[in-house]
């Protein structure tokens, strides 16, 4: 199972805790994980990426295994530890204000 960490506002929207677990077939990519996430939690459609272009919303970042994957290709394979469920894919809201 893939683990994804959601920012607080999306946890309240989806009614989840910080982490959700998803079944994602290989290859495990940003697109595959987000497709599975939006399939399991349709209320998240449009809140992480544009529904048509699939482009990441500008104030969100994707981190995994202590690296920033935000600007990686959406069809690039994510790290093996994410695919193996050992490490989560972190969806992070930019720190803004305060």
């Amino acid at each position: 199972m893939i683990r994804v960490a959601l920012p607080a506002n999306l946890q309240t929207l989806a009614g989840t805790g910080r982490f959700v677990e998803l079944e994602v077939g290989a290859p495990v990519t940003q697109r595959a994980v987000l497709d599975a996430l939006e399939g399991a939690y349709p209320m998240l459609r449009g809140t992480i990426r544009d529904q048509t272009t699939k482009k990441r919303r500008p104030m969100l970042r994707f981190f995994a295994c202590e690296e920033d994957w935000s600007d990686a290709g959406i069809d690039d394979p994510l790290p093996e530890d994410v695919a193996a469920g050992k490490e989560p894919l972190l969806i992070i809201g930019a720190i803004a204000g305060g």
Binding site: P7, A8, N9, L10, T12, L13, P42, M43, R45, G46, T47, I48, Q51, T52, R57, M59, L60, G93, A94, A96
Partner: protein, 371 residues
């Protein structure tokens, strides 16, 4: 006995306030959609338990919520707002061309005849319609393709379509207002639109009585007289007796004619309410006093309503969608402030009580009268 329900949108969620017809004690529930901007919540006049809410956040974009049980539970509806056809430009603050891009829903206006049909006014300025209870949205793109649209420029809050008024006697007539383009009317259900800004004068544009470019803050109508419209503009309070074809200033003896809200008494179509704000640079009430002003003559002659409202050290604003009336007799008037108070009057404005205080900044208030 009748009940009143207030739907309150704030910068950090929505709240629902319930009272019986005496309007003395209020139960407050919420926050719903914690941490999100809730620009507007409004109920269907056909099915009072059908509510629509606009939930947004800069990080995460737009969500539309729907409730079928008066706000006890909510379901995320569709949130894809795609402009129809070619994307045109509007003007940016520096007068450069800027492509239209969807940002958020400012106002939701449920149909007068069908609980599953709802209009949405959005930023960048456009009008969308759903006929499936918010599951999908289609732009009524005639407005965004108005010949003047490439000249529209945003106000401080953005290029937003914030006011939608449906004519109860003519399903094809809708009046909208856009900051800072002006007022527009369709008489064919949204296919074509006419700028209705004659009589408006705005000294912050090069031609002060231009066809468009006016920062209309809000428009109100009494359902018994759909041709009479009342407007709070950036500066100036105005009225029209012909559906917006011609406007006349009725600011009269107001201490300042800048403001955001304007509303009409439920049973007296010539009784209107505004909350004067000091100026466009000081977005708070003048003299540290929170005063609602009432005109019983459709404008020009105004009286201050102060009983029960703070009259010293008050520096709040009341935003454009933050006033509403119920249909009881006497008519109830409600408004919310940027400091998080919601005030109510159960006697047409003669006296006021604090219904709730210390909420997040209030963005909108809608009153429902329930049997």
């Amino acid at each position: 006995m009748s009940k009143v329900r207030l739907l309150v949108g704030t910068h950090k969620g929505a709240f629902i306030l319930n009272s019986d017809g005496t309007r003395k004690k209020w139960e407050v529930t919420g926050p719903h959609f914690t941490g999100w901007d809730v620009y507007h919540v409004k109920a269907s006049p056909v099915d009072p338990d059908r509510l629509y809410a606009s939930q947004s956040r800069g990080w995460f974009g737009q969500v539309v919520q729907r409730s079928d049980d008066g706000g006890k539970t909510w379901t995320a509806a569709g949130n894809e707002f795609k402009y129809e056809g070619a994307i045109n430009n509007h003007k940016w603050y520096d007068n450069s061309d800027h492509p239209y891009a969807f940002l958020r829903v400012w106002h939701l206006e449920p149909s007068l005849t069908d609980a599953d049909t709802v209009l949405a006014g959005v930023e960048d300025a456009a009008l969308f319609k759903s006929t499936d209870a918010g599951a999908s949205w289609q732009e009524l793109d005639g407005l965004r393709h108005h010949p003047t649209a490439p000249t529209w420029a945003p106000g401080a809050g953005g290029l937003c379509l914030h006011t939608i008024i449906q004519d109860p006697t003519n399903a094809n007539r809708i009046v909208t207002a856009i900051s800072s383009a002006g007022a527009f009317r369709t008489d064919d259900g949204g296919t074509t639109w006419k700028a209705i800004n004659k009589g408006l004068r705005s000294n912050y544009i090069p031609d002060e009585d231009a066809e468009v470019g006016h920062c209309v803050h809000h428009i109100a109508m009494h359902p018994s007289r759909p041709n009479v419209l009342y407007m709070q503009k950036h500066w100036d309070v105005l009225r029209s007796n012909d559906g917006g074809d011609q406007w006349t200033e009725v600011s009269g003896n107001l201490p300042t004619d800048f403001g955001f809200v304007i509303d009409v008494h439920a049973h007296e179509p010539e009784t209107i309410y505004v909350v004067p704000i000091k100026s466009d640079s000081d977005h708070f009430v003048p003299d540290g006093k929170l005063r609602v002003y009432r005109s019983k003559t459709g404008g020009d002659d105004w009286e201050a309503l102060t009983k029960g409202l703070p009259q010293e050290n008050c520096y709040v604003n009341v935003l454009r969608d933050s006033m509403s009336v119920d249909n009881l007799d006497p008519c109830g008037i409600y408004f919310g402030t940027t400091a998080g108070e919601v005030y109510g009057s159960a006697d047409g404005g003669d006296s006021w009580t604090t219904i709730v205080r210390d909420l997040p900044a209030v963005l909108s208030v809608e009153a429902q009268t329930l049997s």
